[in-house]
């Protein structure tokens, strides 16, 4: 990270409420919400939650705030896809072909130069070959790519937390069985398995007919990416829970007669949320990349449904990216910016929530 200043996480107990030069420099009015306190140790217990502290730390890093803004803009872009396309006056499925739009002589299918590049009619130009509006496809594609990444991350995080917590808390035979299953999941070559199981799952869920525009590939990607992404988190959560279980506050809860359910949900789970959140932020860009990779390989989201990986696939298909590099630049640029923003945000969240993490 290009973060120039030493992050507060260097000293885990550093007082998070004293405004720094960076904080003043950022857009937020810090002193209004966080009056300087003498020291965090002097604060009443529970005054600052884990997330509250983390939020303060994140706000103090320019890189973190920047990446958060970029992520927010991308999410907004996806949510507003129909609105933005309506303002543009285009939709992601209409093909504009014929000599008015596409070249028919030198490179058949290549959009005429006015339509190849951004213009007021087509904000990101036209797709070569099929003559569809790239901006509308990118906007609707952002929805699909992000939905797949977010939902599959939620599936993995849910499975990983619950399974890991169960293994750590119950121990003994339960732990042994779960740990072996985790080993098994971690030893499987994920990309190969996902690659081969996705078509199988798709044909099972929806028969052989590939209805155009169906959400079936989306669902199967969510299931498969989600189902193969939980094992690593489960292992981490298990380790955390193993040590939490023995700590005094859990002992105390047990002593005053808290039920097992209450101990798991009120004492243990809130204490592993930090690790879980860090992992979840890092899993999102991984899943965005995975969706792009699978759709690029032709087993994920398929034409005409747009996703960023599918658009990348369309750029490679028929070697369009060689005659129309712009058509490669758009999805590639969007992917890199999005993954970079999520990665930087993930780093910031980790630094903020996990002070022991080995970044200096």
């Amino acid at each position: 990270m290009l973060d120039p200043h030493v992050p507060p996480s260097r000293t885990p107990r550093a007082d998070p409420s004293v405004p720094t030069a960076e904080q003043v420099a950022t857009l937020s009015p810090p002193s209004a919400t966080t009056p300087p306190a003498p020291s965090s140790a002097a604060e009443p217990a529970g005054a600052r939650t884990l997330l509250g502290t983390a939020w303060l730390r994140i706000r103090r890093s320019r890189v973190a705030v920047g990446s958060l803004v970029v992520v927010a803009l991308i999410v907004l872009f996806a949510i507003l896809a129909p609105v933005l396309s309506a303002i543009e006056g285009q939709d992601p499925y209409t093909s504009l072909t014929g000599p008015d739009y596409l070249d028919g002589v030198d490179t058949p299918g290549l959009p005429l130069s006015y339509y190849r590049y951004p213009s007021t009619d087509h904000w990101l130009g036209l797709e070569p070959g099929l003559g569809r509006d790239i901006f509308a496809r990118m906007a609707y594609g952002a929805r699909i790519s992000l939905v797949i990444a977010l939902l599959s991350t939620m599936v993995s995080v849910f499975l990983g937390t619950v399974i890991g917590a169960a293994a750590g808390y119950f121990g003994g035979k339960v732990d042994m069985v779960i740990s072996r299953v985790m080993d098994l999941f971690l030893a499987f070559p994920h990309l190969l398995l996902v690659l081969s199981l996705t078509p199988i799952l798709q044909s099972r869920l929806g028969g052989t007919a590939l209805d155009s525009g169906s959400l079936l590939p989306v669902a199967s990607l969510v299931i498969i990416l989600g189902f193969f992404g939980w094992a690593y988190l489960a292992r981490v959560v298990r380790g955390q829970v193993l040590s939490l279980r023995e700590q005094e506050f859990v002992e105390a809860a047990r002593a005053y007669g808290a039920s097992r359910r209450s101990i798991i949900f009120r004492q243990i789970i809130p204490n592993v949320m930090g690790v879980v959140l860090v992992y979840a932020t890092m899993l999102i860009p991984t899943n965005i990349t995975a969706e792009a990779a699978l759709s690029f390989l032709g087993v994920g989201v398929k034409d005409p449904t747009p996703s960023w990986g599918q658009i990348l696939n369309a750029a490679q298909a028929g070697n369009w990216y060689l005659s129309d590099p712009w058509f490669l630049a758009v999805p590639a640029g969007a992917l890199v910016i999005t993954v970079l923003a999520f990665n930087l945000l993930g780093d910031a969240v980790r630094d903020a929530l996990d002070p022991k993490s080995s970044r200096h």
């Binding site: 690659l195 081969s196 996705t198 099972r204 792009a292 990779a293 590639a332 080995s358």
Partner: protein
């Protein structure tokens, strides 16, 4: 040490057996009907039934699994009664598409994957560890920030993006490198090492960009952690030269996480550099897997999954053993 290796090897064999069983179940009992896939496009119910017999799918599931596994010990006959053909040892079944032994398919593909993986591993280890070490030594200065910033971008570059960009720039626009359609399997072939090198340079770079970035991050943070440890302070207070401290004391302790990572990545890559091989049309294991998955060639994709899992598990054990050699603290555990 011997006991440690024996224990780990026994666990490894058990895990491999479980993996082979799970993979077999996923593909055989899984949603797709292998017989329909084997029989192809124009398929009548009668022909599906024939195909089921030919594939041995009329037998109970456990018998099928036992048959499949016995093929690893000796050759066996596969096919419809009367038209069986020998699948030579070690038999992993026959391709639905070409009726070729899957083992032969893998043997043909593996040298290409080795070529892609070998060069890429060397490249990213040198670049990643080198730059990571440099960044750690220059911590907080401009060089460090530049390297760390580049690494952040590097880990965010998906292989399809890097790969297509490299092809666009170096093959199409500048026309300085060949497009690897006629990939050469080894530097010792008829074309010689020069052609081999040029052929694989772009795939290596595509992989190395992503992996170097990860190695830079891990090397840097691990070295910084090591620099802060007591034995480093002792070495410094003994008045040893900075270079000597870094290389002799720091590198040995600080690079152990790299050994782990490298071992696991090698294991992962031997199962096929799927995206890289696909983009650069290198007919390796990953390329074969993509095509088998697209055409529903179950025996091939199943065998590749098992072989890849095998590499991953073996690399895990090797990493543990190497770890025990370089870090004596592990052996006691």
């Amino acid at each position: 040490m011997t006991g440690f290796l024996l224990r780990r090897s026994a666990a490894m064999i058990a895990l491999l057996l479980v993996i082979s069983f799970v993979t077999f179940s996923l593909f055989q009992l899984g949603p797709a009907d292998p017989a329909a896939a084997a029989c192809g496009q124009e398929c009548t119910p009668a022909r599906v039934a024939e195909a089921r017999v030919a594939l041995g799918m009329d037998k109970p599931f456990l018998t099928q699994y036992a048959d499949y596994m016995s093929g690893l010990l000796h050759g066996r006959m596969i096919g419809a009664p009367g038209t069986e053909t020998l699948c030579e040892w070690p038999c992993l079944g026959k391709s639905f598409q070409t009726n070729e032994d899957v083992t032969a398919v893998l043997e043909r593909a593996l040298p290409y994957t080795l070529s892609v993986a070998g060069g890429a591993i060397v490249l990213w280890t040198v670049v990643g560890v080198g730059l990571g070490l440099l960044a750690a030594l220059r911590k907080g200065r401009f060089t460090d920030k530049l390297i760390v910033g580049a690494a952040s971008v590097g880990v965010s570059l998906p292989i399809p993006v890097t790969g297509l960009l490299l092809l666009l720039v170096f093959v199409s626009t500048l026309d300085v490198l060949p497009f690897t359609t006629n990939a050469i399997s080894s530097p010792f072939g008829a074309a010689g090492p020069g052609a081999w090198f040029l052929n694989y340079l772009l795939p290596w770079v595509a992989l190395a960009v992503l992996f170097s970035a990860q190695y830079i991050r891990v090397t840097r943070s691990s070295m910084l952690e090591t620099f802060g440890e007591d034995f480093m302070r002792t070495a410094r207070s003994k008045g040893l030269a900075r270079r000597g401290i870094v290389l002799r004391h720091g590198a040995r302790a600080g690079l152990t996480p790299i050994v782990t990572m490298l071992g696991l990545d090698i294991g992962l890559l031997l199962g096929g550099a799927v995206l890289t091989e696909q983009i650069f049309s290198v007919p390796g294991v990953g390329f074969t897997a993509v095509h088998a998955a697209q055409s529903g060639d179950l025996p091939v994709i199943m065998a590749i999954t098992m072989v890849a899992a095998f590499f991953i598990i073996v690399s895990n054990v090797v990493v543990d053993a190497v770890y025990a050699v370089i870090d004596p603290r592990v052996r006691a555990a």
